[in-house]
Amino acid sequence: MNPRFQLEIFEGPLDLLLHLIKKDEIDVHDIPIAVVTDQYLAYLDLFEKLNLDTAGEYLVMAATLMQIKSRMLLPPAEGEGDDEEDPRAALVQQLEEYQRFRAAAAELGNRDILARDVFRRAPQAAEDEKELPPLRELELADLVDALREVLKRLPEDQAHEIVGERIAIADRIPFLLERLRGGDVEFASLFPEGASRQEVISTFLALLELVKMRAVRALQTERFGSILLRLAVPCDAEVSLDLMDDSTS
């Protein structure tokens, strides 16, 4: 097949539909649903050929389109006549709403954006960290190095390990937050002697998640010194926790 398509990036099924509608200069209020459905499905086909990951939302929209198409083919039910709602009405409303926000997004993108088009004066040296000694902000990679030290301390995997209860990362997050609410915690103290490899890894991944979400900060006074963990913003902690729950459900 000759790939003549210049694939545009679509922000989901609504974006793709609007693209098809605009391409053919179709009136949003009078979409020829059969034509558009065929074109839409052809695009999904193309995505597949190009090995693009087609999110479930695209398939849901495909089903919606086919359902509307079939309803359009049915003769109006007896006695209902003209009062019957156009099967396309809900979709049209959704498209129009999305179109408005797409315009709002474009407008935002065209503004003079800080650190892209305009720059403010650089903030002066950190005002908030006056305590001694000065603490260095660590990166995720530093934490991974620290984990290797912890894993070294662990005994070799037993040959006949019984599969114990799985310790979910989501369960370790409240545990970590609880510990940190009591004050700064030293990294090594999170992994007591005798902790299982599973436990160590779950705790560590939970910690990575919290650091990544900037709910927890990893600090160090000197290179290769002990790592101190500190709650970044107390209220944010709850937020990250909720997001974790959402993403795992």
Partner: protein, 243 residues
């Protein structure tokens, strides 16, 4: 003596005073502009008018506002490299947009890039706040989990509370950083969705063209959906932590 003579001398005094007063006023307002320039130069964050007034005892609010406007006009000329702008409820000095490339070269930082996913999600939140994740997803027609996390991390969006419905979903809203990032005085200075409708297509095309140009400039690296690339002012020069 002659009453006429007396009247004339009084007149001349008034005239002289009238000539001195504008000169003195001009001096005072120059002085005020100079002070304000120092105040604005010394701060990176937008400074609310109230904070400026507190630092200017003895000055009338009316005069300060006038001096700020005068400074703004003075900077707006082509020959000046910065602008005085009202953002996020305060006054802030920022570089002239036309000089962006030079500043970027000096700071050697990757420019902040906002993906369409980020912008669309921000737009929905900005206009519909407080809004829940399912509500955003209903409008955009896609999952916004990843992009929302990024926006929260970048502090462009925050949690306002929980909606009192089943499941008590989190409610999201924009932050002062959002206003500062987009150079907005307040949320009310966003154009209304109706206003946008008219020029929607033109803008959208422009944005798409800009995005294409952007990704070409970035060496065509396939960027992850919903990421905000580039260094924030706080993490300048650091290698990327992820990506």
């Amino acid at each position: 003596m002659d009453p006429n003579e007396d009247a004339t001398s009084t007149e001349t005094t008034i005239e002289a005073e009238a000539q001195e007063r504008p000169a003195a006023e001009a001096h005072a307002s120059k002085r005020l502009r100079s002070i304000l320039e120092s105040l604005l130069f010394s701060t990176a964050e937008p400074v609310p008018l109230g904070k400026l007034l507190a630092a200017l005892p003895g000055y009338e609010k009316r005069d300060v506002v006038r001096a700020l406007a005068a400074l703004g006009e003075e900077y707006a000329g082509d020959e000046r490299g910065f602008r005085l702008q009202q953002v996020a409820g305060g006054y802030q000095l920022r570089t002239a947009p036309a000089n962006a490339d030079f500043v970027k070269a000096l700071l050697a930082q990757r420019p902040v890039r906002l993906t369409r996913a980020s912008l669309e999600t921000l737009a929905v939140i900005a206009y519909r706040q407080p809004v829940t994740r399912p509500e955003i997803e209903a409008i955009r027609g896609v999952d916004v989990d990843a992009v929302l996390t990024t926006l929260l991390e970048r502090r462009l969006v925050r949690v306002l509370g929980r909606k009192d419905v089943v499941g008590r979903p989190l409610l999201y809203g924009t932050t002062a950083e959002f206003l500062e990032t987009f150079g907005l005085k307040d949320l009310a200075s966003l154009p209304t969705l109706e206003e946008l409708g008219a020029s929607a297509d033109a803008l959208e095309e422009a944005a798409r063209a800009a995005e294409v140009a952007d990704s070409a400039a970035a060496g065509g690296d396939a960027s992850t959906e919903g990421t905000l690339e580039g260094a924030s002012p706080g993490s300048r020069g650091e290698p990327e932590a992820d990506g």
